[in-house]
Symmetry: C2
Subunit: 351 residues, 2 copies
């Protein structure tokens, strides 16, 4: 039996909050009965959503607040004026130890800014990164950063590599996960100075990491490595390119199946098989971007997801808690203290 | 009837050269009977490949050379020692006016370096870019740069926008093509300083361009704009991510259709429809990356493509020639001379 875990929820974040949020919590509750929830938001709207489900009363506590962060609010503005918002209070519950992690489908920039401000980064980590799993031919690959850090230096990339490596061991259960650095070619001479310096550090620093070397965009879905490290600009573009390509392919498929009587009959026979493909590439299954490197678990759900997707994001947070990700990464960075590591980049710590 | 056009071919470039190159020329000849070819390479190997096709004698001229550029040759080394190579001589034929464009499936870095050295950039253009068409839900979108320029400043991106815009008008025949700048969000405040400055220039410079604003990775395949502008690092990663995602999706499909008797029957009925999807997403159909901004037409074929793909790359070069792309871009940059344009970036010209 699992130890009870409490997750705090920004019930007002997301395009269809609080409705899909509450429905997502209900779906997560079915899968993860040991999890408790602190729901931050407008009690007058939350109570009627919870009322039809008596089982929810025992696992959900509503903490009322009038304020919510809008999708177009700027992070700086939220930091100045958002302290009473559902998002801020939900994050604060992690800081206070009332919850083991927080999930929000709200404004990404604000969520990252407030999480960083309230929770702080883990010792030795300069910048947190956004990480998520990608489906691949061989299984799943973790990729980071997906958009938290637009400009990265080599040290940031090295830190992301360590954070991703620990995730792959702690949560995915891999013994010696292979780490790749995303680049425009696999040869040493290719790429920007930043990726070349990061690669040199990963190769020469005696970090206990199985560094594969450079990988290219097509290696992500090929599953060439277990963790793909990149800056937030390229990572975000790559993630969204993949999403757009899946949409293109499935649109082409739909059109093709409608194009003749034969193909319509084919569709009827192949429907179950095609559904499997839909499930395997369903972005909702991969919903839940992790903010790694913070002194607390924070997970961002897609703003436009449905309850199924939101429930998956909760699952991602619970997994990080259950595998003690933050304790593992803390230990890892302790091991990597200046005395033990010859890398000037990593040794420089939180510049 | 079309005016005769001569294309020079690096017959020794690519993974399976010269076999697939000659076969590609033969396929292109069937589709484009008005095109003549100058084939640079080892005559002893080319002659027997051409011999079985008597029709080819009238359209192909072989220019012998012993030397070829290997795939792992470094561009700097090729610039110093590659003057007698098939690649260099093929490019030189364009410089000399013997050919209207050159196609090579060889080493990309070397091809760009030698093309730039021999052909030079067009007046007013700082750096050439690699451009290619993407299939989209709405048709096709041009994207550039795909890997020629790892580090770009705002001025480079503005030049790419102009080059792409002219392509969309001249070759795709669009009246006022929409140009988007690839970024991690569509809001003005998002992204790196480079993209923000480029966007400001495109918005405020009175360039005769229909600037849509920022687009995200998923907008590429959605066909949100006609031209997507980005730096070579993100562009290359995005292109290869899309290729990898198509491969993933088609692998999932294959597995699904093999998973049961029902789905196998479904496959038989839907085979023709599925084949259509395969054709629409076939990377060979999109083979032929254009080096835009050079004082001459140069097209890079994928190194691992087959004859069908190589023939498409020839088609891309012939299209650029037929639509007078370089004359159009030259006129466009003449119009944009310092006196006519208030943009300090573009006015600075070839810094």
């Amino acid at each position: 039996m699992s130890v009870p875990v409490t997750i705090s929820i920004d019930a007002m974040g997301g395009d269809s909050a609080p409705e899909i949020v509450v429905e997502g919590v209900r779906m997560a509750h079915e899968r993860l009965p040991h999890v408790r929830y602190l729901l931050f938001g407008d009690e007058a709207r939350l109570a009627p959503l919870l009322a039809p489900y008596p089982g929810m009363a025992g696992v959900c506590t509503v903490r009322h607040t009038d304020e919510a962060i809008s999708n177009d609010a700027k992070p700086g503005q939220v930091l100045r004026t958002g302290r009473r918002s559902s998002m801020w209070l939900a994050i604060d519950a992690v800081k206070k130890g009332e919850a083991a992690g927080i999930v929000s489908a709200g404004n990404t920039g604000a969520l990252m800014a407030v999480s960083k401000f309230v929770l702080r980064t883990l010792p030795g980590i300069d910048r947190p990164a956004i990480a998520a799993l990608f489906p691949t031919i061989r299984g799943e690959t973790l990729m980071l950063d997906l958009g938290a850090n637009i400009d990265c230096n080599a040290n940031n990339l090295v830190e992301f590599a360590v954070m991703g490596e620990v995730y792959a061991r702690a949560v995915l259960g891999l013994e010696t996960p292979a780490i790749g650095l995303l680049n425009v070619g696999s040869e040493d001479m290719k790429g920007s100075d930043v990726v070349k310096t990061a690669a040199a550090t990963l190769r020469e620093s005696h970090l206990p990491i199985n560094f594969y070397g450079f990988v290219e965009g097509n290696d992500i879905c090929a599953g060439t490595v277990d963790v793909v490290v990149t800056d937030g600009f390229s990572g975000n573009i790559s993630l969204k390119t993949a999403e757009g390509t899946v949409k293109l392919y499935s649109t082409f498929l739909k059109e093709a199946f409608k194009s003749s009587l034969m193909s319509k009959i084919g569709f009827l026979f192949a429907r179950r098989a095609l559904n499997k493909v839909k499930v395997r590439t369903d972005p909702r299954r991969y919903n839940g971007a992790m903010f790694l490197g913070l002194n607390g678990i924070a997970v961002k759900s897609h703003g436009g997801t449905d309850a199924f997707g939101f429930a998956n994001a909760i699952g991602v947070a619970v997994e990080l808690v259950a595998h003690g990700y933050n304790e593992r990464i803390r230990k890892e960075f302790d091991r990597l203290k200046p005395a033990n590591v010859p890398s000037p980049q990593l040794a420089a710590g939180t510049r």
